[in-house]
């Protein structure tokens, strides 16, 4: 029964990953912030999967989505793939410390990780692909993160029961 619950929520989270990836990879002229919102949602879901549903298959998920995001948004591989895999490796190293934290501390780290991911992605895009470091884009992501973070976490925890 327990395994079935875990299995179902993992599938749901992966469906959210696919939908948020698809919407963030297609720009809509009339709704530019929809892309950004779903881009943030993708990162939120990915971090949640790592934190609460860690499994070896996530390495494959990180590889596939990392490549696709890089190819579709930057036309080169690098920034996303490195960021996604580095986060996984850091999580594995720091997992024993994360377990000791309270739920509030974990939520805080969850949010902090999200913001750091956006910074690292921009930084790597700048270093590897000479993409201009866009602070307004970062602020836009942070603002969207502030708006959707609590409802998303609430939805995910409801999903996990």
């Amino acid at each position: 029964m327990g395994f079935s619950k875990f299995y179902n929520s993992t599938i749901k989270l992966n469906i959210i990953l696919i939908i948020s990836f698809s919407i963030s990879a297609n720009s809509f002229a009339a709704l530019p912030n929809i892309n950004n919102a779903f881009y943030v949602l993708f990162h939120l879901t990915y971090i949640y999967l790592i934190f609460y549903h860690y499994h070896y298959y996530i390495y494959l998920v990180a590889l596939i989505y990392g490549i696709l995001f890089d190819i579709l948004l930057l036309n080169n591989t690098g920034a996303h793939i490195i960021t996604f895999l580095s986060l996984l490796i850091f999580f594995v190293i720091l997992r024993k410390y994360l377990i000791r934290l309270t739920s509030f501390q974990i939520i805080f780290i969850y949010f902090l990780t999200l913001i750091i991911l956006f910074f690292i992605e921009q930084l790597l895009a700048n270093l590897i692909h000479n993409y201009t470091f866009n602070m307004s884009s970062i602020f836009n992501f942070i603002l969207i993160s502030f708006i959707i973070f609590i409802p998303t976490v609430f939805l995910f925890t409801k999903m996990d029961k």
């Binding site: 698809s22 590889l63 036309n75 690098g78």
Partner: protein, 273 residues
């Protein structure tokens, strides 16, 4: 015998997991390396993404697309009255220009005959429609429904009825990818029509303006001056309309492109004759 067998299975499983992790990490770093050297693997992935992944993502995001189109049409409907007024004013202005253009065209023909000059016209390779766009996050890219089977090659120019749209950066059999002028990583060499000032323009990052990254002899063009491709870098054909000088500062100037990048449906892929 049974416990021994179980231990072996656990060891094998751990080995497989560790092997998977190491190979995934190694593969990702190899991909990053190959992306810079443009090996067969990367072009294969790009091909796969444009022929398989983009249609799937388009299908999944179709409801959002419908909603976006609805909002777009509603906005257009709301601004009809205002647009009508602007268009009427533009018609009057264009009529004046038309008479002038006819005169200039006749004069031009006569002068060309006198100089025995040849026309520097463009060759139309293909008119392609837009499949999808990735111009909100990071790069400003659009994908077209024509590829190397339609004789589209890398570095060809994409234009529409208003002027220069961008440059082809990738082609697959049936798709190609165009980087828009507003992308900060694209540089175009331009000249101003009235003064012939040569400069380099790049995207400003806001997706709206182009900013000068280099101006020859630090001569600034005048406000409202029209900017066209200079053809000096031999990437874009000469004299393609780019935009109008919208703001001039001490060391740089801003150009508002003629092309409305939010409303691109069709582009023409051209090359110089």
């Amino acid at each position: 015998m049974a416990p021994k067998f179980q231990i072996k299975v656990v060891q094998l499983s751990r080995f497989v997991k560790n092997f998977t992790i190491i190979s995934v990490v190694t593969l990702s770093f190899l991909l990053v390396f190959f992306s810079k050297t443009d090996y067969y693997l990367i072009s294969g992935i790009k091909n796969l993404s444009s022929s398989v992944v983009i249609p799937i993502t388009k299908l999944i995001s179709a409801p959002v697309n419908v909603f976006s189109n609805f909002i777009d049409e509603y906005n257009q409907f709301r601004s009809l009255k205002f647009e009508n007024k602007i268009l009427q004013e533009e018609i009057i202005r264009l009529k004046k220009w038309q008479t002038l253009a006819i005169q200039n065209s006749r004069e031009n023909k006569v002068l060309k005959k006198l100089l025995n000059a040849t026309d520097n016209n463009l060759t139309l390779v293909k008119t392609a429609s837009l499949i999808n766009r990735n111009d909100t996050i990071y790069s400003k890219l659009i994908n077209l429904n024509a590829g190397y089977e339609d004789k589209i090659e890398k570095n060809m120019s994409a234009i529409n009825e208003r002027g220069l749209v961008g440059k082809v950066i990738d082609t697959t059999s049936n798709n190609s990818r165009v980087i828009l002028l507003t992308d900060p990583s694209l540089s175009i060499s331009v000249k101003s029509i009235s003064d012939g000032i040569f400069s380099l323009l790049t995207g400003n990052g806001d997706g709206k303006y182009l900013v000068s990254s280099f101006v020859k002899e630090n001569k600034m063009p005048r406000l409202g001056d029209i900017v066209v491709t200079s053809g000096t870098a031999q990437i874009f054909p000469v004299d393609l309309l780019v935009g109008k000088v919208a703001k001039v500062e001490k060391n740089r100037f801003f150009v508002l492109p003629f092309v409305d990048f939010k409303n691109i449906d069709y582009v023409q892929i051209v090359t110089s004759k």
